[in-house]
């Protein structure tokens, strides 16, 4: 798979949506590096566990730093990294299992902190790496290896969740639209705050939704994926929620919070200015306890 490392074990299936996401991220990072005249080593990619997580290894040539961590904990790792190194460009790559099941508890705190990081979620509606179990975004009544008689749980609706948890910048995209996806990821990286690019990235082995997303006009099947109309005002929360609640998968910038976004590290700098924290040395602190 990887040219630079032939013994690298991991392989994606032919046609996997994650190929498109990988190319889009590389394009976004490449453009950013040129525009800002900054080295690609100034980016760190934080990956979780699942097919999506393996994206962190696939960069050819000069590469960003990466962490391939544990299942569901991309956002905690990104929190520690970005809080301590606001100079780094931090990108999280995750999947619907990693981000929305085991990792869902971390979305709210990060949204409230408004860490200046960008998350790319590859949503294939299935656990692919472990061979086809139901994920939070698997449809109701769909049969998988863990839902033999059809899924009993309702499907999670990630865009509504993001809006509800206070994420300030939300894009919904499709892996097959590589160029537009690359642009969207680059724009999201420019946003000074917490941003999520939620990508429909079909699993050709266990949940091939390409046809559903694209539709089949000849046979009168409407595409599930529909562009968000130009008339949509992304700063209108209620309008964004209405689109998110719709039947189709919206494509485009769904929501951008109105007003200035103050990322976490700037909030901290402002707080420090306001309060002028005590800055004592260890010797002074010890001496203050003198009997």
């Amino acid at each position: 798979m990887s040219k630079r490392n032939p013994v690298y074990d991991f392989k994606w299936c032919p046609g996997c949506g994650d190929f498109g996401v990988k190319v889009a991220i590389e394009q976004a990072l490449g453009k950013r590096a040129v525009e800002r005249n900054e080295s690609i080593e100034n980016t760190a990619i934080v990956a979780g566990i699942g097919c999506s997580g393996n994206l962190v290894h696939l960069q050819e040539g000069p590469q960003p730093f990466g962490i391939h961590g544990i299942h569901g904990r991309t956002l905690p790792i990104a929190y520690g990294l970005k809080s301590n190194r606001p100079d780094m460009n931090v990108v999280v790559v995750s999947g619907d299992g990693d981000f929305l099941s085991i990792g869902a508890e971390h979305i709210g705190p990060q949204a409230r902190r408004n860490l200046d990081i960008t998350v790319v979620v590859m949503d294939n509606g299935i656990y692919g790496l472990t061979k086809g179990q139901a994920s939070p975004t698997t449809e109701f009544e769909v049969v998988t290896s863990t839902t033999r008689y059809g899924k009993l749980d309702d499907r999670m609706r990630p865009l509504e969740v993001y809006l509800g948890l206070g994420v300030g910048y939300i894009v919904s995209e499709m892996s097959s639209r590589v160029k537009q996806l690359g642009e969207a990821i680059k724009e999201a990286m420019e946003y000074p705050g917490f941003s999520i690019v939620h990508v429909q990235s079909p699993c050709t082995t266990y949940n091939d939704t390409y046809a559903l997303l694209k539709g089949d006009e000849k046979n009168g099947i409407e595409p599930l994926a529909k562009p968000i109309p130009d008339s949509h005002d992304p700063s209108d929360f209620m309008a964004a929620m209405t689109i998110a609640k719709g039947k189709s998968v919206p494509i485009g910038l769904l929501y951008k919070r109105e007003g200035e976004s103050i990322p976490a590290h700037e909030r901290l700098a402002r707080a420090k200015e306001r309060t002028q924290p005590r800055e004592y040395t260890v010797d002074q602190l010890l001496a203050s306890m003198t009997i």
Binding site: V7, V56, H57, G80, M88, E279, I291
Partner: protein, 564 residues
Amino acid sequence: MSKNLVVRFAGEGGQGVVGGSELMASAAAQGGYHVLTFSTYPSQIKGGPAWGQARISSEPVLTPGDYLDVLVAQNRYAYDFNVEELREGGIVVYNSEEFEIEDRGRVLGLPADKMAREAGNPLASTIILIGAVAKMAGVDMGALEAFITKRWSRGRAGDQAIIDGNIAALRMGAVEAEKSGLTLEALEAPPTHAETRILIRGYESACLGAIAAGLDSFIGYPISPATTMLTYMEANMAGEGTFVGQSSSEIESIGALVGAGFSGKRVMTSTAGPGLSLMGEGLGLAWMAEIPLVVADVQRGGPATGLPTKTEQSDLLCAINPGHGDMTLPVIAPGDPEEAFFAAAKAVNWSERYQGPVILLTEASIAERAQDIVIPDASKITKEIRTVSTGEFGNLRYKGNTVSGFPVPGGPGAYVANGSEHDEQGDTTHLPEVHIAMTERRFAKLKVLNDGTFEAENTSADVVLLPWGGSKGAGRAAWLELAAEGVDIGWYYTMYVSPLPEDMLAALRQKKLVLVPELNYLGQFAGVLRQQGVNAQAITQYTGLPFKVSDLKSEIRTRLEQSK
């Protein structure tokens, strides 16, 4: 003349019993005495049985004291519950607004709250009680008044009025004590001190040691009894490039530590047993991906929620191996607040040196203890900074069989810090030969942590005492008394419980019997020692309270008899 005065303030949470013992200790320390405090309270904001104890001595203090000279009881329950620990000839001072004691002599009923209200200083009831206790023990009242003056001279307009009110309260207590005619054997005069001393709590000492070693970042989640470290860091760790944050869970804390450690920073968190359990997988990630970080575990009691505010030493096995798979984490367990300073500094330095996670294992009784110590010399702490990659091996961050250059993000040597088994540049692989090589590399790195020191006395004895952590004080006191009584028993002690100092381990392996006092049911450290070829036997106790020296001494004598 007596060398010791042990005073316990007992009542309900929220009645200032812990504050009372600390104030008494501060006042005595100011007067030149050695002091040590211990407190225990329920896990609730107000109410429930609580007590705080101060031991005041003309000699260095090792334990809170087995028996009480004075019990200050705020209510009937506090009296009934604690009076058994009053030594013969001890005195009970009790709140006579609440209840009466008629079944024994040597009691002094004081309506301290009422007296304080009538004197127009309702907050001074504790000081009235301190005045009474100090008078009965023959403590120099002038020194106490000097303490009050110093304590409340804060440069505020109302200072003088508070000082006058508190001194008046102190004298009111003393007058009542005098009227009662009750006295204790007078306390010896305090020693004189050549060195500067400070009164410090264990958690303060641990925090300052870590900062002295160059800590950059502290991220934690509130949990008893470890929250004090988080709040102390929030208040006091400042400066360019530092970061202190409250996470949303211990799972988030350990993830954030991995991110921060990966970013090149020296980073720490504080937690207790339940949090350590949640951190297991993240600590495994730090071990696999070779990320420096420090987790301070302030032990409480029991599994699950257990005893949140009590003390125990039952997390040792979890600290050494907090998660699944092959790993052995370095663990440093200080025995008192003074050691906590150097232990925390070493924990930060070890994490940097071997590039991996280190556990600083303390416990409630050490973290919350206030004790007088000689001011630590922070200039003696070396700041060890991890070897940073200059790109000499390209992307091969995991090259070789020992610690290698750490690529700092933004600089050369971009790689993937990988929690999956990986090759030299961090790409995932499950090839057997790579798993063998990388597993061996991770364990080989521990060899650089070979500078742990230890104490050894009477090393020719074939039976030795080896306490660890917070049982050091009681162990030491028992050992000193036994040695003075002519018992032939050796003394070994180290705060470096994993990996153990090699020379100490070699010596212990030669011993007929190694007795390990520890506050847990399993005898965890004794088990760890047996695994390493030492004939160790635990002396256990699991009350949620520290050892009493007398109990420990008699158990040691029994074990010595049995071993003959």
